[in-house]
C-alpha cells in the first residue's frame, strides 16, 4: 500500500543531509555556485596581476562594492516577492541631490538630512508598492514611471545637479576607513555597513516576515489564503528596496561625490546581480546573500577586464556574454534539478529551499 504507513512515529529530521552534505548540495545550485564564481573571478584577477592579492587592496575593493551589493540586496526583496524595481537609480540620484543641496557644508544637518533621505526613500517605496498592489499596475511599469518622474523632478528642482558635495563628515560614511587594522591595514566604513546589513537581511529572512515574503512570491493566492496581507508584504518589499537604494546613495555620495550620473544603471546592475545569484525572476526562490555575491561577481568582472586591459569598448560585450552564459547554465542546473527531483524525493540537487540554512535556498531553480 502507500508509503505513508512505513514511517510510523519516527519524528521527521530537520535536514536531509549533514551540514557538510548541505554545503556540497548548495554549491551545486546557482545560489551557491555564485560564491564559487566570485571566488574564481577573484583568483583570476590576482593571477592576472598579483598586486590585487594584497589584503589591503582586496578590502578596499570590497568596500567600494558595498553600494551595489546593498542595492542588490534591496532588489532581492522585490524580486523574491515576484516584482521588479526599476526606480533604484532614480532614488539614488534624488538622495545624492538632497545630500548635496540640503546638507552641503552644514554638518549640523547631517542627521536631519539622513532622516529626510530615509523618509523620502520609504515614501517612494510606499508609492511603488501601493501602485503595484492596490492599482494592480505591473511593477515593471510602475517603477519605470517612477524612474522617469523622480529623475525629472529632481533634475528640474536642482537645476540638473547638486550644487556641491556634502561636508566631509557626512561623506565619511562612504569614504572613511577604520585605520590600523592588522593584515588588511584598513576597514572601509561601507564594508562595515554592508556587513551589518547582510546580518540584518539574513535575520530578517529568517523572521516570519522573510518567510512570508518568499511564500508570497511563490504563490500569492496560497499566501493570501494563509492569511498573509499580500499587498502589505509586497509594499514592504518595495520600501526595503527604496531604503536600500537610499543607503547606497548615502555611501555613493561619500565615495564618489555628487554628479547627475551617480547611481546610473544601478537598477539593471542590481537585477543582474540578483539573477546571477540564482534568484528567480517571478519570485519564490533565492537567498539574499547570493544576490550580494552576484554583485561582487559583477564588480570583480569589471576589475578583471581592467586588469586584462580589455579594450575599453569591448567590455560591455564580454559582460553581456558572461551574464547570458551564467544564467543559461543556471537554468540548465535548474531543469536537471527538477527532473531528478521529481524522480526521487531524496536527492541532493533539490535539498533545502529555506534561506534559513546554507545557500541552498531552492536556488536550484536558476534562471527562469
Amino acid at each position: 500500500m502507500t508509503s505513508t504507513t512505513q514511517t510510523r512515529a519516527v519524528t521527521l529530521p530537520a535536514y536531509s543531509h549533514g551540514i557538510g552534505g548541505r554545503m556540497a548540495a548548495s554549491m551545486s545550485t546557482p545560489g551557491g555556485a555564485i560564491f564559487l564564481l566570485a571566488a574564481a573571478l577573484l583568483v583570476a584577477t590576482i593571477i592576472a596581476n598579483p598586486n590585487f592579492g594584497d589584503p589591503g587592496v582586496i578590502i578596499r575593493f570590497l568596500g567600494r562594492t558595498a553600494p551595489i551589493a546593498i542595492a542588490a540586496m534591496g532588489q532581492y526583496y522585490v524580486i523574491v516577492a515576484g516584482e521588479f524595481d526599476l526606480s533604484m537609480a532614480a532614488v539614488i540620484a534624488a538622495q545624492v541631490v538632497i545630500a548635496g543641496n540640503y546638507i552641503g557644508e552644514d554638518t549640523s544637518r547631517n542627521v536631519t538630512g539622513l532622516v529626510l533621505m530615509l523618509l523620502l526613500g520609504a515614501f517612494v517605496g510606499l508609492l511603488n508598492g501601493l501602485a503595484t498592489t492596490v492599482l494592480q499596475v505591473p511593477s515593471f511599469i510602475v517603477t519605470l514611471a517612477m524612474m522617469l518622474a523622480l529623475t525629472g523632478l529632481v533634475r528640474h528642482l536642482s537645476g540638473g545637479a547638486a550644487d556641491a558635495p556634502p561636508n566631509d563628515d557626512f561623506r565619511q560614511m562612504g569614504r572613511g576607513v577604520v585605520k590600523g587594522v592588522p593584515v588588511v591595514e584598513v576597514i572601509p566604513y561601507p564594508l562595515i555597513i554592508l556587513a551589518v546589513l547582510c546580518a540584518a537581511a539574513v535575520w530578517l529572512m529568517r523572521r516570519p516576515f522573510g518567510r512570508t515574503l518568499i511564500a508570497v512570491g511563490d504563490s500569492p493566492d496560497a499566501a493570501r489564503i494563509a492569511g498573509a496581507r499580500v499587498w502589505w508584504v509586497k509594499t514592504q518589499a518595495f520600501i526595503l528596496s527604496s531604503l536600500a537604494a537610499t543607503v547606497a546613495g548615502v555611501l555613493l555620495v561619500g565615495h564618489a561625490g555628487v554628479h547627475p550620473t551617480v547611481g546610473r544603471g544601478y537598477e539593471f546592475a542590481a537585477i543582474t546581480a540578483v539573477v546571477l545569484g540564482g534568484v528567480v525572476l517571478g519570485g519564490g526562490r533565492g537567498w539574499v546573500l547570493s544576490a550580494v555575491a552576484g554583485a561582487f561577481a559583477i564588480e570583480l568582472l569589471f576589475t578583471l577586464l581592467t586588469v586584462l586591459d580589455i579594450d575599453a569598448t569591448w567590455r560591455d560585450s564580454v559582460r553581456g556574454v558572461i551574464i547570458i552564459v551564467a544564467v543559461a547554465v543556471a537554468a540548465r542546473a535548474w531543469t536537471r534539478g527538477r527532473r531528478t527531483g521529481s524522480a526521487t524525493p531524496s536527492n541532493s540537487g533539490t535539498s533545502d529551499p529555506s534561506p534559513t540554512t546554507e545557500p541552498v535556498p531552492g536556488t536550484n531553480t536558476g534562471g527562469i
Binding site: 526599476l86 528640474h156 539573477v275 553581456g320
Partner: protein, 347 residues
C-alpha cells in the same frame, strides 16, 4: 494566475462592456481633445499640417519598435536589445550605402538579415536555453553596444538622397514613414489573427503547458516573435538613417526606445505576462505618447518636467484597466452569466 479578490462591481459594471483596447482608444481621443485645447490656448492649431506631421513623425520610429515588442511580450518574453539593434542596423546600412543609390538594396538586405540573426539568437536563448527574456536581451544589448563602440566612433556612412526621401516625404500631413509603420502594423495584425504562428504565440504566452498538450511546438512562435521584433527594430534603425542621412551609433539609445516601447505596449492594454493584447492598442499607446510630447513641447514645458508628466500618465492610464484584465468567473447572483441566467429562469 487568477487573483481571488473581487473588484468593486460598480467599476466592473461601468467598464463591463469595454475591452482594454477600447479604453486605450478613449484615452487617445481624450488626449487629442485635451491636446487641441491646450494647443489652442498657446495660439496654435493642433490640426495644422506641421503639427500633425510632428506628431505622426514621432509615432513612426517608436511605432516600429513597439509593434515588435508587442509580439515578443504576447509570447511571454521581453526585448531590451531593440535600441542597440536599431543603432547597429543604422550604421551598418549607412556604411554599405556610402551615399550610392545602387547600394541601397544590398544595405537593406544586410541590415534586415543581421537583425534577423540577432533576433534568432535571442529567441533561441529564451525558448531553448530557458533564459528569462529580460536577462537574455539585456545581455544581447550589451554585446551589440560593445561591438558598435569598438567599430564605429561617431556618425558614419551616408544615405543617398533617394533613400532619405523615406524620412522626409509626406502625403498631405502624413509622413510616408508613418504609412510604412502602419503597414507593418497591419501585417502584424494579420500575423496574429490569420496565421498559425500568431495563434500559437498567444497560446504559448497564455499557458505553455496547454499549448504543448495541444501539440504546439512552443519554441517556434517565441523565436519567430523575437526575429520579427529585431527586424522591426531594424526598420526603425533604417528609418532613423533615412532621417539623419548618416549612421549614428548611439541613435537607438538616444530615444530610450527599449523602455518606452514596453511602456507603450502595456499602455496599449497588452498583458506584460503575455497571452493577451493586440497591435491596435499598442499603436494607440504610441500615439498617446506622441500627442503628449507634442503638446508639452508646444507649451514649452521645462524638459525635465516632461518626464514627470510621462511617468504620471503611464501609471494613471494603465491603472484604469489593469484591475479588469484579471480573469474571474462570472458572478451568479449579481451578474448572471449565459448559463446561469438560463438556470435562474428554470428556477
Amino acid at each position: 494566475m487568477s487573483d481571488i479578490t473581487a473588484p468593486p462591481p460598480a467599476l466592473s459594471k461601468r467598464l463591463g462592456g469595454l475591452t482594454a483596447t477600447g479604453i486605450v482608444l478613449i484615452v487617445l481621443v481624450l488626449a487629442v481633445v485635451l491636446g487641441s485645447v491646450l494647443t489652442a490656448v498657446e495660439g496654435r492649431n493642433f490640426f495644422s499640417t506641421g503639427n500633425l506631421r510632428d506628431i505622426l513623425a514621432a509615432t513612426s520610429v517608436l511605432g516600429f519598435i513597439a509593434i515588435g515588442q508587442t509580439l515578443v511580450i504576447l509570447g511571454g518574453s521581453l526585448d531590451l536589445s531593440v535600441p542597440f539593434v536599431a543603432s547597429l542596423t543604422g550604421v551598418v546600412a549607412a556604411g554599405i550605402m556610402a551615399g550610392e543609390t545602387g547600394n541601397v538594396a544590398p544595405a537593406l538586405l544586410a541590415a534586415v538579415g543581421l537583425a534577423a540573426a540577432i533576433g534568432f539568437v535571442n529567441g533561441v536563448v529564451v525558448s531553448l536555453l530557458h533564459v528569462h527574456g529580460f536577462i537574455a536581451t539585456l545581455g544581447m544589448g550589451l554585446i551589440i553596444s560593445g561591438y558598435i563602440a569598438s567599430n564605429y566612433q561617431g556618425n558614419t556612412g551616408s544615405a543617398p538622397r533617394s533613400f532619405r526621401l523615406i524620412g522626409i516625404s509626406f502625403i498631405g500631413p502624413i509622413p510616408v514613414s508613418t504609412l510604412i509603420m502602419l503597414g507593418c502594423a497591419l501585417l502584424a495584425i494579420l500575423l496574429l489573427r490569420r496565421t498559425r504562428t500568431g495563434h500559437h504565440l498567444y497560446a504559448v504566452g497564455g499557458n505553455p503547458e496547454v499549448a504543448r498538450l495541444s501539440g504546439v511546438r512552443t519554441s517556434v512562435p517565441i523565436i519567430t516573435a523575437h526575429v520579427l521584433c529585431s527586424v522591426l527594430a531594424a526598420f526603425a534603425g533604417l528609418l532613423l538613417l533615412a532621417r539623419l542621412s548618416v549612421g549614428n551609433p548611439t541613435i537607438g539609445s538616444q530615444g530610450q526606445y527599449d523602455l518606452m516601447s514596453i511602456a507603450a505596449v502595456v499602455l496599449g492594454g497588452t498583458l506584460l505576462a503575455g497571452g493577451k493584447g493586440n497591435i491596435t492598442g499598442t499603436i494607440a499607446g504610441v500615439a498617446i505618447f506622441a500627442v503628449m510630447d507634442n503638446v508639452m513641447a508646444v507649451m514649452e514645458v521645462a524638459p525635465f518636467l516632461r518626464d514627470v508628466v510621462r511617468g504620471a500618465v503611464i501609471v494613471a492610464a494603465v491603472a484604469v484597466y489593469a484591475r479588469r484584465s484579471i480573469d474571474r468567473r462570472p458572478a451568479r447572483f449579481e451578474r448572471p452569466g449565459v448559463l446561469d441566467a438560463a438556470l435562474q429562469e428554470a428556477r
